[in-house]
């Protein structure tokens, strides 16, 4: 069985089939990209994987385990972290606090210990901080530690979101349009980081992306969607040459 498998998953909002029996599987250490025109159901698939939506039918498997019924707050603990298309950071907290929230699924201390701030809590906090600092180092965020998110520029927020996801030490990271709103230079940086996330940290990457240059540069495999249905899948070159994909983007 594959590392991560989506098996004939469907999501229906009333009469609208947002996701229609989509199946794909991601191998460990892969960078897998989902492309498709607006409204194709890409983000819906992400929301299904992070369990914000309940699928109408179909199943999700992660490391051989059925995660279709797992509540959304336990997904992070299993090793799946995500970012959002329209940045969902904790705006009125410092960047450091944001990244420390990323460590939440590894929190071991009890409420009463925290109220007294026992030495065990202090130890755990320092351990979290060490892990967070590794991520800060990895993504070059040293300059923003104590800055409030509300005061950071868009491009930095995008990176902070990736950092927060990485702080949970995921095995699979879901990146929802990591390059949207970034300029060319920032997109370049992002493409290097996405590769480094895979090669240096050994995290499998599943992403949704519109920027075909970025997709071509980093993806191992691509899946094209339209109207909730799979059009094609394969290497970036194969998918881009597929007649259905061309028709979906340019019109038949």
């Amino acid at each position: 069985m594959s590392f991560f498998t989506v098996d004939r998953i469907s999501l229906q909002f009333g009469g609208l089939k947002a996701v229609d029996s989509v199946s794909f599987s991601v191998e460990k250490g892969e960078i897998f990209t989902i492309i498709g025109p607006n409204g194709a159901g890409k983000t819906s698939i992400f929301n299904l994987i992070s369990r914000l939506y309940d699928p109408t039918s179909g199943k999700l498997f992660f490391e051989g385990r059925d995660i279709t019924e797992v509540p959304s707050h336990q997904i992070a603990k299993l090793g799946i972290a995500r970012t959002f298309q329209n940045i969902e950071l904790f705006e009125n907290a410092s960047m450091l606090a944001n990244l420390l929230v990323g460590r939440h699924c590894h929190a071991t201390t009890q409420l009463w210990q925290e109220i007294l701030f026992l030495p065990s809590v202090r130890r755990a906090e320092k351990e979290h901080r060490r892990k967070v600092e590794e991520v800060i180092e990895f993504l070059d965020l040293q300059a923003y530690r104590d800055k409030l998110i509300a005061g950071l520029p868009y491009g930095v927020r995008k990176v902070v979101e990736v950092a927060r996801a990485l702080c949970s030490q995921p095995k699979l990271i879901l990146l929802d349009e990591p390059s949207s709103g970034l300029n060319v230079e920032e997109t370049d940086d992002m493409s290097f980081w996405i590769r480094d996330i895979r090669t240096e940290l050994g995290v499998t990457v599943l992403m949704v992306e519109h920027d075909m240059t970025l997709v071509n540069r980093v993806s191992d495999r691509v899946l094209a969607l339209n109207y909730g249905k799979v059009l094609a899948s394969g290497t970036p070159a194969e998918v881009q040459a597929h007649p259905d994909v061309i028709a979906a983007y340019l019109g038949a």
């Binding site: 950071l89 904790f90 009125n92 202090r122 320092k126």
Partner: protein, 383 residues
């Protein structure tokens, strides 16, 4: 301006970040300890009320400021704490037992109120908490075997291991101070550990909090329970301070006063609770003075300016009629809240930080430093 050179993660964890904090909080503590020996009994009693309001303020800041869940039901939590103390004391149970018992009982009730919060947000949650407050008020009035109904209930002085603590003595002042310092420490400890960060995450983005592994239901209930338990403790102190409790003391207006504490003080930091409590407790004697003195002053001023004595007398009567009009207090409160929300949404503490920064940066302070900017519009909230 001070730049702290950080070489250790402990520096970000500890509460007193550098020696300046030790100095300022040390002096503050010394002044607070010296207060009972310096001021008269009236002012000391007012300060005790400041402490009690500040404890409730800390509780509300944990719930509203950190977790983002509004509540207009905190007068009810205060009432539950107060009545638990009154009832258990009348059963001959010692203060050492009923003080924590009141916190636990109120905390449990708070957790129960927290459950509807899982489904409600914003104005709907406020309405639910108001409903809860009315239910509690009604129960207090009807459950006569325990609460003595509308007649009210006497609460005797605290009996601390055989040592009485009279309500206007120094010992009572220090007890309230101790509870306040304890609840501030509790809030600050929460804030620097995973639970407090989870609260903040829930406030700023429930969707992201969920995907980061935060159990929304659990943490919302925890936040309500902690907030209610602290308010319950304040309720015990309140009952002893008043020495008499009755249902009409715990009305919606009291809940609104508590909300004002954090709006005026600033809900984003624990300091706001104390500043707001000082403001609210001190505004009442100020309004009373206004009611009594302003008409007399105005009339004598008018006479000096050459107004006929009977016309001046009429003026005084009109002014005192306005001053003692029903609902004036509520109107002034409403006005103050609106002014703060419009002009200083971060409250007195926010203003204090701005003034501090102005002096720290002195010649370099830019006018637009705190100008509010439009931030990126959020869409696709998965509520």
């Amino acid at each position: 301006m001070r730049f702290v050179f950080k070489t250790d993660y402990d520096q970000d964890i500890r509460l007193l970040k550098h020696s300046g904090y030790w100095w300022s909080y040390g002096v503050l503590l010394a002044v607070l300890i010296a207060f009972p020996y310096l001021v008269g009994s009236y002012l000391q009693s007012q300060i005790v009320f400041v402490f009690i309001y500040a404890i409730v303020g800390v509780a509300l800041i944990i719930l509203t400021g950190f977790t983002g869940q509004a509540s207009l039901g905190h007068a009810a939590f205060l009432a539950i704490g107060a009545y638990t103390a009154g009832f258990l004391q009348s059963q001959g149970i010692s203060f050492i037992v009923y003080f924590p018992a009141a916190a636990i009982i109120t905390g449990a009730v708070g957790a129960m109120v927290g459950f509807p919060a899982l489904r409600l947000s914003g104005i709907y949650l406020v309405i639910a908490t108001i409903a809860f407050a009315f239910i509690v008020e009604e129960i207090l009035a009807r459950w006569e075997s325990v609460t003595h109904g509308n007649e009210g209930m006497r609460v005797r002085a605290i009996d601390f291991l055989g040592q009485p603590i009279p309500r206007d003595g120094d010992a009572f002042y220090f007890l309230c101070l101790l509870v306040l310092v304890g609840s501030i420490l509790l809030a600050q400890n929460l804030l620097r550990s995973p639970t407090g960060r989870a609260f903040i995450a829930i406030r700023d983005s429930e969707t992201a909090a969920k995907s980061m592994g935060i159990d929304l239901a659990g943490y919302k209930v925890k936040s309500f329970a902690i907030s209610a338990a602290l308010t319950g403790m304040a309720g015990v102190l309140f009952a002893h301070k008043m020495s008499f409790i009755s249902p009409e003391m715990f009305t919606l207006l009291l809940s609104i006063e508590f909300i004002m504490v954090i709006i005026i003080g600033g809900a984003f930091g624990v300091h706001g609770a104390v500043l707001g409590a000082i403001f609210i407790v001190m505004v009442d004697p100020f309004l009373t003075a206004l009611k009594d003195d302003v008409p007399v002053l105005g009339a004598s001023l008018a006479t000096t300016l050459g107004m006929a004595p009977d016309a001046a007398g009429k003026l005084r009567d009109t002014m005192s009629a306005i001053g003692s009009a029903a609902g004036l207090k509520g109107a002034i409160y409403g006005l103050i809240i609106m002014m703060f929300i419009l002009f200083e949404p971060y409250g007195l503490y926010g203003r204090w930080l701005k003034v501090k920064l102005f002096f720290q940066l002195f010649p370099l302070y830019k006018k637009a430093t705190f100008k509010r900017q439009k931030t990126y519009v959020k869409s696709e909230r998965n509520r």
